[in-house]
Amino acid sequence: MTDHDSIAAGLVDDEEIVIPLLSRDETVSTVILGHHPCDELIQTARRMEKQLHERLSDASSEALNNIRDDHKQLGIYEEFLQQCEAIVKELLGAIQQHLHKEQTALERTRAKNSRKRNDSIKSTAMLPPPLNFYAMLLKQLKVLDNMPNVTEINLHDNGSNDNHEDVTRLSVTCVDKKKRNHTWNAQLYPTIILTLDLPEEFTLVDDNLRLEKWWHDDKHDVLVEIQKRFQQGIDIYQPLFDELDQLDANLWVLEPSLPARRSSVERRIALWEGGASLVLVLDAEKPRAAPTLVRFVGLTAAAMKAAQASKGDGMDVEAKDWSSSFAEFIAECGKDDSAVKHWSESRSVQENLELWFGAQLPSPLTSSKSDYLVECGICYTHRFPTEDVMADDGSMPQEEGSLPDVKCSNATCNRHYHESCLFEWLHSLPTAKNSFERIFGSCPYCCDTISVSTVKGRHK
């Protein structure tokens, strides 16, 4: 018996072969081959599987018949197992032959098998984690706890509707050199699913990191390894965090709402009152380099006029073509001998921006954010309010709802409206006229003609 077990155990290591041998109710073709597109191969496998079953049952019934004959027993088992081995080899040979022939089919098989593997993982997810999962978890948590930068470790249950309350979610918080907090979250069972808040370019997971059934990994402490790599990632992006923190603290960042996620390298910065702003995207690796994407928002003649009026004659806002001036400013980047003022990596992003702007940019220290957020003239909100996202006190989350997109073309009025708000108002006016899917009426404030698309307005 022991021989049988050990051989069987030896076979177990090679999962793909053994599973069909040990569990007879599963068929070889479904387990090994999955949904292999090659019909021929499936047929071969099915044929072989049938043979295998026949021979196995022959061998085992023979063994059972002779079970009391102690002298014969060992020989019969040996014979039985040899037969099994031969059948398996035959089967493998046939499969390999086919796989060699059909290289593309092989790749597809692999893809499908891996998908199948995931499916089987999903089905085991219903089972509670094994004991060694907890043993490894505890062991690695102790190591994590002793790491100098780690400040907080939290374990939660997975919060799902599963009946068992297994502690399978982990969040680890650590600090960087400037005492900024960074957290990663992971679902631990049955396979690690990581959520990091680092720039997209950063990859933590590679082939050396075993995420699936990680508690079987004897060589590495997987969770500790994740923390080490995460800390490395944080160190890499220190310059980026420095730049972004400087922008967030000193300039009016309209989007994203602060505190922003660490993975966000985009900032919309207010230029002056009346809604004009600049969107820039920093290079995560080289944050001080010229921004990769720059876009201007709300840079209209009226906005510039208003800005000029408020700044007095200190700066000639109107005469300047901002986007092309910014393009020139960036283009000279890197030419340190250039006489014209240009973006330089030796300056911070904020310094570069202000050098280009020719003045200090508005700052939360000197002005209030509402000056730069445009409100709809009808509903008095920035984001269009809808039932499902609105808080009880009537306030709206920053990132939801459409922005006031329609603007009165009268430069002295210059009001913004949500398309749906304006549509509803014009729609209720007996004097409004429809033409070519637009509704025309008068601006609620200045009574000049204003129009909105009936299609868009109605849809919201």
């Binding site: 003239g377 009808i378 509903c379 008095y380 909100t381 269009f384 309010p385 809808t386 039932e387 609105m390 006190d393 009537g394 306030s395 709206m396 708000c421 509803e424 108002w425 209720s428 006016l429 007996p430 004097t431 609620p444 404030y445």
Partner: protein, 219 residues
């Protein structure tokens, strides 16, 4: 309680916070029942250099379901002896009516609406009078004296508190129905085209309100 859209709710929240943090001169507005933002009360002190200057006037503001596309409905609880305000407290002001008859637009905010009602107190418009007798007196310069006398008698703080207590005792729905009814009647009188349609709506509303008393299902 009438249903309001999320948009109206967002706007009202803003307007009410404006009214409480940065109130217009002479106007104190508040919501008596925090769970119902559509029913607002305002205490308006009589404008200086007007016959009302010593008085405090209680005004009910009722937000309709289509706000801000429809004007709020306003009614004085305190009697006001004024050519454009009748004995039921109804106000004749073009800002309080939808176009084309009136000049309401979403551009009018609650603070500015309350301000224009207050300035109507100071400068009546006898040519568009709601109460012909008072208009006549006004034109003959005999109105001011009477208005001052009545203000001293009716628009006192004691009377105001009494009126508020009366309102608090009332069912809120009754209070609203009063406002709606008065407005519907006024609009019917003043405005043919649009107003008839709207008053039909109000009538339907009244029926519903009368039927179930407490629960308002319309809108």
């Amino acid at each position: 309680m009438s249903q309001i859209t999320p948009m109206a709710k967002a706007r009202l929240t803003r307007e009410l916070s404006l009214l409480s943090t940065d109130p217009p001169p002479g106007i104190a507005a508040y919501v008596p029942n925090p769970s119902d933002m559509t029913s607002i009360r305002a205490q308006i002190t009589g404008p200086e250099d007007s016959p009302f200057e010593k008085g405090v006037f209680l005004l009910l503001v009722n937000i309709s379901g289509r706000y801000p596309f429809e004007p709020p409905r306003c009614r004085f609880v305190t009697p006001v002896y004024h050519p454009n305000i009748d004995s039921g407290g109804r106000i004749c002001l073009d800002t309080l009516k939808s176009p084309p008859g009136g000049s309401w637009s979403p551009a009018v905010s609650l603070p500015s609406l309350l301000l224009s009602i207050r300035s109507l107190l100071a400068s009546p418009n006898p040519d568009d009078g709601l109460v012909p007798e008072i208009s006549e007196l006004y034109k003959r310069n005999k109105w001011e004296e009477e208005a001052r006398k009545r203000t001293e008698r009716e628009a006192t703080v004691a009377k105001l508190e009494e009126a508020e207590r009366g309102l608090d005792g009332d069912n809120i729905n009754d209070e609203k129905r009063d406002v709606e009814k008065s407005n519907a009647e006024e609009e019917k009188k003043k405005d043919d085209g649009l107003a008839s349609k709207r008053s039909n709506e109000s009538n339907a509303e009244e029926i519903v309100a009368a039927e179930d008393g407490v629960k308002r299902t319309k809108r």
